[in-house]
Point group: D2
Chain length 353, copies 4
């Protein structure tokens, strides 16, 4: 397989660092450029001592993020930048013939209006929204294959969409009244020198934030609406917990059918099981838990796997679905590499297991 040359714009944050880790060990990629305004001039080894044993880390220097220069160096460019900033690079790089895999929110939505509602600014390049593909491989594999612009999903959306979409598509749960209660590790806030994320402010602390209208709702609802074939509005509450990595999401769903007898419950359980099996049985990165097992972020840490389990509650008539993922891997950089593998025609697990 032909090696591809890769650049990462914005490589000094937590997602960028995770991309570096994955791409340094990927069998078919050569990391040719990493950019960072703050660290320009320094080697990879200086900025990330943990990579210092990799031969590349001494020779690869962080550079200023210049689209024209990177376009000449790289076949594929990953953007690990804040929303809004990503767009300008995307336009130049696409014009120069690069494939772009964008980890920001800039191209995840189909609707420029929704973008404006949630990000409080006009979309800087609304035409590109038609060209981009939402990079959730388990749902959009075929579209990703042919795409030049992959908009890699957010961490919370991944943890909510993968457990919910198969149930909506199978008509097993109502598209109304969905609640997603999510707990995220602190790396989700990014590598920002802000008081709120200091060790002493996070350790021995648990807190909700961004209630009730977090920006990730925009892509979650757009994707759920597509799956349900009707407009879906959900409740979403993110919480910050003192772990480095991991998102645990608990979903409260209403099955379309009433179940009160043992037999009804068994039948419904089998339908749910079948829907998940159909969707994910062959997926290398979705782990459907069995028996008494429940998701635990420590079981997916540093892997591209999402764990999913569910329980029917005959007392309330609800279906509880729980998922666990590493917010930096399946929730960000690992999933982006999964899309890279699809775009390049490589085995989808290359560099990821």
């Amino acid at each position: 397989m032909k090696t591809k040359k890769i650049a990462i714009i914005g490589a000094s944050g937590y997602s960028g660092e995770e991309l570096v880790r994955l791409l340094l060990h990927h069998p078919h990629t050569e990391l040719v450029a990493v950019t960072s305004r703050q660290y320009a001039g320094q080697t990879l080894a200086q900025v990330f001592p943990k990579f210092a044993s990799h031969p590349k880390s001494q020779s690869l220097h962080f550079s200023e993020p210049k689209a024209e220069v990177l376009a000449k160096q790289a076949d594929v460019v990953f953007l690990a930048l804040p929303h809004g900033v990503a767009t300008e690079y995307t336009v130049s790089l696409l014009n120069a013939g690069c494939v772009v895999i964008d980890l920001s929110a800039d191209f995840r939505l189909k609707s420029a209006e929704t973008y404006k509602e949630f990000y409080a600014q006009d979309h800087p390049a609304p035409d590109l929204l038609k060209k981009s593909v939402y990079g959730l491989p388990e749902i959009y594999r075929d579209e990703i294959k042919k795409s030049l612009l992959v908009a890699s999903p957010g961490c919370y959306p991944t943890s909510i969409l993968l457990p919910t979409i198969p149930l909506l598509k199978a008509g097993l749960v109502k598209p109304t009244g969905i609640i997603a209660d999510s707990l995220s590790g602190v790396s989700g806030a990014g590598r920002k020198a802000e008081m709120d994320y200091l060790f002493c402010e996070c350790n021995e602390s648990v807190r909700p934030y961004g209630v009730p209208k977090h920006r990730h709702l925009s892509e979650i609802e757009e994707q759920l609406s597509l799956a349900a074939g009707t407009k879906v509005t959900i409740q979403f509450t993110p919480h910050l917990i003192p772990v480095n990595r991991g998102i645990l999401t608990t979903l409260y769903l209403a099955p379309g059918k009433h179940f009160s007898t043992e037999a009804e419950m068994k039948a419904l359980n089998e339908k749910i099981s079948a829907a998940y099996a159909k969707a994910y049985r062959k997926e290398p990165f979705v782990r459907l838990l069995e028996g008494n097992a429940l998701p635990d972020t420590k079981n997916v840490s540093s892997t591209n796997v999402i764990e999913i389990a569910w329980r029917l509650d005959a007392r309330t008539g609800r279906l509880i679905v729980m998922s666990a993922e590493d917010n930096l891997v399946k929730g960000a950089s690992g999933q982006a590499v999964q899309s890279l593998n699809i775009v390049c025609g490589w085995p989808e697990t290359a560099g990821l297991i």
Copy 2:
């Protein structure tokens, strides 16, 4: 004020330790006995080095838990024992004229049938269920005053009941469809030498457990039903997170009234505000958050305070209420001491601030 003599049965667990801490510094109590089968014979200082600077800690020895002996030593006895075990002591101690404040689940329910359903055994002394008072001071202050047997609430129930009861009583939220999503520190599991609670199994881990029918549901639903005047069944999902102390609960409630305009939302917000103010304005241990503030367990750690905040979501028509408490203080031992203060006619904040 006359000093009362206090004994703690089961003083070596986390709740017991917290009781010791509070009662050693309480202005009106003398701690005369602490029991533990495992540590009988050792001094308080040996078992809990952190109390070794207290003069009492060298002279007070852990003893075997014998009701007849303790009844002669103490005016009030705290039970920090597993459910089932607490009952036998309670009967003897009440007969001997002691006041009993029980931190177990044995006397929290009015219904012996519910006890059997959730605790899988016949209630060992169903007659006493009529005599016990549910020790939630903000709700049952008057009853606690006259009681000889206080059943101190569980940690999760406290975090759910205090935010919900005023809304149900005021008819502001529907008694149906309530969801409580709770996150608890590891001390909630007790001081038990079990693999699941080892440092390396909890650190960098988040996980749900006891889904969907946790035992605490029994007292939560009984109390909510009393407040609502109708049978209430709720959804409750506990999660384990890597902090020592703290419970953060997020409640999903349905306001009785529709609100979609700004004006309707403002009016409803004022009603909720008024209901909470009426219930808790004068309560020393309930803190209603204002402005942008949201609950954070670190702000209530080692205190008897519960923080409450809420948000209406016009998009979903739901009311989100969030609470934070220290599971070992307001969720257990602090609340039990608050009941002690009420029973003894002391200022309710004695020894607690």
Copy 3:
């Protein structure tokens, strides 16, 4: 006892916050002013939600730090400021008749030359160095009593000096070759929005820093030299560990006498024991551990206690002394309040247990 009016300059950092906590609950103080450039205008409750249940927290507003204003309001002023900045306030406040208790490094040294060597600037008020007292109550109680300017010790120095000084004074250990290896919680770095102290940079991390010439060496060596009656130079290695609070120091000392037989070891142990007992038997905040017990920061957390234990090693001929303290209490604000109690003639434990 007459209540004293207290102001805290620089009350928004971790030491300042701990001073606020202690002084809000102190029986003989009224907190009349707290200053912070960043938070001026906000109430105590807004800046520190955890104090919001205290009646004072709604009425007390952070103000700009103006010495002339504060001098009129307060009898005693605590300075929780960076070194260099503290001096200007000290001069004005002393002139205006206030007692000053300074938590910075500005008045801890007797030698202006040493100050210049370690802090890389001329001392801004060298004359005041003669008037200030090093606020280590167990060593300088009598001097503190009569002082108007108390220079409260650093967190590392406290953890090193209290275990070492009695041994040096008794001539039991050599003044040469002393090594102090210290582990500090992250609050020791202050509430600064810097990358190095983000949760994800500290959690699951342990690292030395400031090797080999940390600034605290200046006051440690000056004080050890005074105790030994000869110039003492020590080795000191601080490490950062992922806890909020706590310093654990391990000291490597050389007994003056050789010990190889059981009898020699026993005799030496008794001498050490006697030296410590003489120094600290009556001290309320020094806990000499017995038996198999070793210091543990969790046993002193949020208290003003320092734990000390020691072991003779016949294999190496060394004496190992270990101490544990809360860096924000005995290592900073608690010790400063202890000095306040001494200066004001109150019981030394007032507000501290």
Copy 4:
């Protein structure tokens, strides 16, 4: 390269789990058996959910540890057992023609007397002590190549020996007066359901233990003595800190030569640098830090790398050397796999980067 069949006896502890992780992904091994008395009959996926996505995890069942059965299944057997227990398996397996890589302390010492002194029992197979090789590849690579019994070093010894041996061999530091102060993550205590290692007992806690005569001293001193050509006795203080993984060791050494001028210091620094470079320049798993960098356990977590840095202190005349490793990888299972690679003639980094 021919694939080797591998068994792990005692695969359910933390070292065993880490061996499983490494060997499941090793390019030249087939994991054919994992044993555990406690989990016999369960699949790898059931015991370790985190490996459930690996195809092998559903088919591989934990079995009872029977040497005769394992000897038929496997070419190489790893022992992750307590000391004392490992010996009986070793004898049987060697007799049956297996290569044994033992992670216990049973064959690390050359001297049966030292074993008895430190492990309080007669060595169960003293003859084998001559046949075993101390599995520190950077020091004993040639011997490991030819060995059938590799005694893989302890976690603390690895963190102390690799930084110290080159300096002793080069005669740059005195063999007397060496101090090693080590900080270990909780996984070092093993997966044991003991109170001391519960989350709430370790979180927000730091404590020394095993002072002054930890068992690991036996192998540390034996190896240092071999390097120095004279009997070496050291001071060693282990501490427990609240991280899952990682050991940080700070070594206090006395250079053989006096250095007080800039020139002397520079010359000595160059000699130390040269000694380390000679020893480790080509070593893939030893990272000599440069410039201002100091070791940090987070930079070696889950890798087989040890970081080493040093500082000369002209004030005290000492050399401070610091190292960081992952106690479960370079300190245990990774190093054992490194030895496997050497024994089997594979690239030494196979399966380790």
